[in-house]
């Protein structure tokens, strides 16, 4: 089925470990986004990508790395996890037709707990 898929849905890891969250979309959307959701903060943008091999920082990029070698995949890596990165992470994608009101489509989220 077409859509946007995040994996894993739940992850528990320890501080200092590297962890990668996966995001895959089948729409061939140009834009992809990573958000973190924390109580009292809503969703905050970590990184986004306008196309393959084009990425840019969002509001809270520190401690995260992204890549986009293929249009459909946009993995998010925590190189050395810290407890402050415990959160729910959402991936989203959007078309890029200028002047057209395209909404973002979200994955189901990954709940990441860092002990």
């Amino acid at each position: 089925d077409a859509g946007i898929t995040q994996s894993p849905r739940y992850k528990i890891t320890e501080t200092g470990r590297q962890v990668t969250l996966m995001c895959h979309q089948t729409w061939s959307h140009s834009y992809m986004f990573w958000y973190r959701q924390d109580l009292g903060h809503g969703l905050r943008l970590i990184y986004y990508s306008a196309a393959a091999d084009i990425t840019d920082k969002g509001e809270v990029p520190d401690g995260y790395v992204v890549s986009r070698s293929k249009t459909e995949n946009f993995p998010l890596t925590l190189e050395s996890a810290t407890r402050s990165q415990t959160s729910v992470y959402f991936c989203a994608s959007s078309e890029s037709r200028q002047g057209y009101n395209q909404p973002q489509h979200f994955g189901d989220g990954t709940r990441l707990s860092i002990l």
Partner: protein, 116 residues
């Protein structure tokens, strides 16, 4: 920089009644898009309704409608005939047109409880 404010952390409504969730935003741009997303306990982010700033007519989707006041920079969501399934977190989001980045700026959310 643009900001989005949802001043009601939590709201309650009786089933079949009407409730309005408020959202205000700050921007110097004249053209932009506004959205309301619903997040039920399943954690999915579901698009409820969208509004183009250049359109004066308020958007409507079945029981959901908005009151868009551009001069006041207000974008409230009205839910009519509330149902138990409407219980969720609701997020207001702003997207710039001019920047071309398609980034959203989200409010902090309003948790809606529906009482049977």
């Amino acid at each position: 920089a643009q900001t989005v404010t949802q001043s009601q952390p939590e709201m309650s409504v009786q089933e079949a009644e009407t409730v309005t969730l408020s959202c205000t935003y700050d921007t110097s741009e004249s053209d932009y898009y506004l959205f309301w997303y619903k997040q039920p306990p399943s954690r999915q982010m579901i698009l409820v309704i969208r509004q183009e700033a250049y359109k004066q007519q308020n958007a409507t989707e079945n029981r959901f409608s908005v009151n868009f006041q551009k001069a006041a920079k207000s974008f409230s969501l009205k839910i009519s005939d509330s149902q138990l399934g409407d219980a969720a977190m609701y997020f207001c989001a702003y997207r710039s047109v001019a920047s071309g980045t398609y980034k959203y700026i989200f409010g902090t959310g309003t948790r809606l409880k529906v009482l049977a």
